[in-house]
Amino acid sequence: MSDNFIDSLSSEEKAVFLKSLIFMIKIDGKIDDAERQMAHDLVSIYKLENCGDILKNIGSKEELLSEILRTVKDRKKAILLIRELLIIAHIDEDFDEKEMQFIKEVAQKLNIDDRLVLELNQLILDYKLWQFKMEKILEA
């Protein structure tokens, strides 16, 4: 899977990826400065033009899940969306139940097996541990 997968996404796919990620960030109902910055960064990473309106109208979870189902047809892209969501969830040290629940529902919509979600999640956690250990050793 290419790290430059964003370039392979269509405008519609980019929009739904971005909406999903912003939804995750705002899932606890409030958005602090760090999260606002993260949303801003995501917009520039996804290079989506005219995204202002899209982001203002993310809609309800049900609407978003339906849009995900309509837009993300490719399995590889579906897996990548789950990976993106998991990464966002692990950016801080607080992967809470609402985020887990949302990922579960997205995975179900996209017909991604739970075991695959767990594998992806473990991969990210292992990477974080590896990073943490390296920082400790290097006294960074």
Binding site: E97, M100, K104, L118, N121, Q122, L125, L129
Partner: protein
């Protein structure tokens, strides 16, 4: 299959445990747990000072700064624990560490006494420096005179070194045994068979720890540190005579043990305002806020609520690593000596005016006298002509 959310939670819990394990396994220098006034956690780079409305200590800025100087001292000398040495030596170095930090606190209070002239600045809530205050009151030592007179200076520095060591051995040593044993275990967990006795490194560590404010207190020390830990003795024997496999096994076991640092056993547990010294990671994370309440789990179903406010980070810590912190008569007299010498006024035996030089001077005067006599004789001779 079990619910995905539950599985994710399990993964998250495992991750948190592993992360904690990494955090604790990376104790490359020992940490200090103090149930009393403050603590220094090297691995977390944290100095914690406890304050409480109910406590009799830390009610004055002087007392609080004195503790801050103590804990900061641990930070300044933490590097000596990277020197290779045997378990018994390590244990004694850790004792020396505590004693030297008490000396730092005393020196800070001594400077406050010199600055203000108020004898109360030498007080301490638990009376740890009463030996020094009494000596000042009785006129046995004089910090004021010390800065001008070498004999007085040496007498005072000797009392600071040996008085503090006596006080610590009697008052605190028994209470530090568990902590120093744990620290020794951490050291073995870290270095294993490399913990070979090394008198050179041991002496280097002691000298570094006891060089404070420009004075090497080690040269005033009249007694050696004594390792009364059976654990440190046994470990020394194991390192010196044991099989490599046995040492490796002990190291492995200690790694397990020190990675789960036991809950701090504190007898006195009033509600505390201030930094809280706990090994509970979640509690530490709560301290990110500048103030609040945390719950300390003591085990056995018991817990305490603790109010805290963080000490401002901007608080200035007196710099006892400054060579000029203790005003020394020797330095002054050296300068005075040099000035006198350059002015041609000095007549001490080491100066150009004394010792063999005095003979030289004497000869010069004699020579002058001879020359003068010769000149006079010549004049007389000419006059006769």
């Amino acid at each position: 299959m079990t619910d995905l959310v539950e599985e994710l939670k399990k993964q998250q819990k495992l991750y948190s445990d592993k992360k904690k394990e990494i955090e604790y396994l990376n104790i490359y220098t020992p940490d200090y747990v103090s149930s009393a006034k403050g603590s220094y956690l090297d691995f977390a780079d944290q100095i914690k000072i406890f304050t409480s409305d109910l406590a009799n200590y830390h009610q004055t800025d002087l007392d609080l700064t004195s503790t801050l100087v103590h804990e900061n001292g641990h930070d300044e000398v933490a590097h000596v624990y990277h020197l290779g040495m045997g378990p018994k030596e390590l244990y004694k170095v850790a004792q020396c560490d505590e004693i030297s930090q008490n000396i730092r606190s005393l020196l800070y209070q001594r400077n406050e006494y010199l600055r203000t002239g108020d004898i109360k600045t030498l007080d301490s809530v638990d009376g740890r420096f009463s030996f020094y205050k009494e000596a000042v009151e009785k006129g046995e030592i004089s910090p004021i005179l010390s800065s001008q007179d070498k004999e007085s200076f040496d007498k005072e520095m000797s009392l600071i070194m040996n008085g503090t060591m006596d006080m610590w051995n009697k008052k605190f040593n028994p209470y530090y045994k568990t902590q120093l044993d744990l620290l020794t275990k951490e050291y073995i967990a870290r270095v294993g068979e490399k913990a070979q006795p090394n008198p050179k490194n041991y002496n280097k560590a002691i000298n570094e720890m006891l060089t404070i404010g420009g004075v090497n207190f080690n040269k005033y020390r009249q007694q050696d540190f004594t390792c009364d830990s059976e654990l440190a003795k046994d470990l020394t024997e194991l390192i010196e005579t044991g099989e490599k496999e046995d040492i490796a096994y002990v190291q492995k076991e200690f790694k397990k043990e020190v990675s789960t640092i036991p809950t701090e056993k504190v007898k006195w547990r009033d509600r505390r305002k201030g930094y809280v010294s706990k090994y509970d990671t979640s509690a530490r994370e709560e301290l990110k806020a500048s103030s609040g309440t945390i719950v300390e789990d003591l085990g056995n179903g018991k817990s305490y609520e603790i109010d805290y406010t963080q000490t401002p980070e901007t608080k200035e810590i007196p710099d006892l690593s400054d060579d000029e912190f203790i005003k020394q008569p020797t330095k002054e007299s050296k300068l005075a000596e040099r000035l006198q010498e350059l002015r041609g006024l000095k007549s001490g035996e080491k100066s150009i005016g004394g010792g063999a030089a005095s003979l030289l001077n004497k000869n010069r005067f004699i020579a002058n006298d001879i020359q003068m006599q010769k000149a006079i004789n010549d004049k007389i001779k000419y006059a006769r002509c």
